[in-house]
Symmetry: C2
Subunit: 362 residues, 2 copies
């Protein structure tokens, strides 16, 4: 079937091949339903195939290798398929998030709801284009979520492995949806605490992106509790650090590198740990500055205003605080990994992934 | 655990008890995520528990009984849980459909997106109430879909039964999402054919409501191919008849009985088989009448205009045609059931359910 991946590049291709084969396997079903349904699912397939760094499958696969999985053994293809299914959960999360955030582009292409709104406009169809686009994107996101389950169920891993991964798979999906809900909810209720921001960070990002994928890989390999704990500690710490780094980039990142407008998170009103840190410090020391931050967040800021908010956030020490937290988490995460019984080559790989996360500028 | 149901009323209570226990089982996970997430999932639980006739679990359970399932045997509780999980797929379908259709009420209560929009307004939170309501409802619908899988997976049916139901479960979800997509799509593209309307009817309703639930029940019992074919034939025919009856009610139903405004489907612009039949007949015989129907469908009609459209649809023979189709399908479906090896008591039950479907006035 697929060639077991030996490097990051070949892992990317192997994941893509597994996804492509899965979409192919759905064709009899979508063609039986008929009409324009196969065209719509082709748009979902294109979305999934053009996307991303496959970070979740990479952590799951590496977790499996580190727990003794044999990339040239008889289970490798099935495990790869189970790990690749994470990309379909992610497709649902992205497609639905893009509706929620009213995002126009994703991965350099129109988001799915915008693409279908465009088809509606071009076709001169009845009703509202935006409404049509969102309706189709809701349904295609649902389909991606249903198909993620199908892909795991049909991956070919044995019954014992299925039993081991079931609670991980279940927890992961509830956690990411919980994290997304809290994100949406905190933004409107105006919970400004560092604790609330950290909770969202933990469940929307850390658990979903690193901790649970690693856990899934370990469970696929039948790892013992000690290794699973170590992976989860590493995954939680590095995952939170990953999001904190993302928060810094969202305010201070170079638009030429991040591909997003400068200070995007400030304009969008994202309630990040970085912003919560700044606000807590301002509240404690300087009410005027706190007012300035509260008036600015989520406003239609000029570049000059973004520049001033950045300066204030930095001067309050929030950037240093977040940077220290990233460093501490990275150290703690790496320590847990080092002390674990994961294979040396997997440790090397995971260390490299963790450092890449901490140092990335985009 | 639950008492095996012996009648329709006790089946309703048993399904509800199974759903209640499942929601209870999610609590550790939702509480671990924390914040207001448990409150949000409580709203989903209330939505699921206050609802409906549990028609899908009823067909699945009766299909299992008819294929030899023993309601006082050791598998009964597990099977009941697997059948009850259909209500969580249905919760996703309803919650997302209500967003798509911009529906304000469901089962006499505000729809989930309206309920959360209301919380937003009452709380005086930031941003747009409607947008917040829809965002939360998208996420809670996703959660219902993910939990449907969890409920089946954790139902306790044995590995062989899981293997038998997997393709049925998979097909059912793809079919209903495909049917919903075609419904949304046909409404805007203006495909007026009877074939398009029948295709939506088949996948959005018949397969999802009767055929696949029966198939699921049969697969749980390990039924042979002949019984599965008979069930599917019965389910498809009766399911299509069910939707055709619904189409008649949507135009001719008594508001006091249906709980919907008179002629609701005409005002909403639903492209039903009934309307497609009327239009095809008008196109063949009387272009002026066809114009009248095309101008009226989806328009903001007065009661007088609804009355006139009804008259025209009836005079064209479309009501008789649909009624004949319902009668033929019911006869064919019942014939397939009669000839099957299903138990006599299940046949009686399924016959009663089919006739109830054909004769209902609400």
């Amino acid at each position: 079937m697929t060639t077991p991946p030996g490097s990051a590049t070949s892992l990317l291709s192997a994941v893509e091949a597994a996804l492509r084969a899965f979409f192919e396997s759905r064709r009899p079903l979508t063609e039986a339903v008929g009409g324009t349904f196969p065209d719509a699912t082709a748009a979902l397939e294109a979305f999934v195939l053009r996307g991303g760094k496959r970070i979740r499958p990479a952590f799951a696969w590496t977790g499996w290798l580190g727990a003794g999985g044999d990339p040239s053994g008889p289970d490798a293809d099935a495990v790869l398929r189970a790990c690749s299914a994470l990309e379909l959960v992610q497709a649902c999360a992205l497609v639905h998030d893009d509706i929620i955030d009213s995002s126009a582009t994703r991965r350099g292409f129109p988001t799915l709801h915008v693409e279908f709104a465009h088809r509606h406009t071009v076709g001169g169809w009845a009703g509202e284009s935006a409404k049509f686009g969102e309706s189709v994107a809701i349904l295609l996101g649902d389909l991606a979520l249903a198909w993620a389950d199908d892909m795991v169920r049909e991956s070919g891993v044995d019954a014992a492995a299925h039993a081991r991964i079931a609670p991980v798979w279940s927890a992961m999906r509830t956690e990411v949806l919980g994290g997304q809900y809290l994100d949406v909810s905190t933004e409107v209720t105006g919970d400004e605490s560092v604790a609330a921001a950290l909770r969202i960070n933990r469940y929307k990002t850390a658990a979903y992106t690193i901790e649970r994928p690693l856990h899934l890989g370990a469970a696929l390999a039948g790892a013992d509790d000690a290794l699973i704990s170590a992976y989860r500690e590493f995954g939680t710490d590095i995952g939170i650090a990953f999001q904190l780094q993302d928060d810094l980039l969202g305010v201070f990142g170079d638009p030429a590198v991040t591909g997003k407008p400068s200070g995007d998170d400030l304009r969008e009103g994202k309630r990040t740990v970085l912003f919560a840190e700044a606000l807590a410090r301002a509240d404690a020391s300087d009410p005027g500055t706190a007012d300035f931050l509260r008036r600015g967040i989520g406003a239609d800021l000029t570049d000059e205003q973004v520049h001033r908010m950045r300066q204030v956030i930095t001067d309050l020490g929030a950037v240093d605080a977040v940077q220290s937290r990233i460093d501490e988490l990275t150290t703690a995460g790496l320590r847990a990994l080092d002390a674990s019984t994961a294979s040396e080559s997997a440790k090397d790989e995971l260390r490299a992934m963790a450092v890449a996360v901490g140092r990335r500028s985009a």
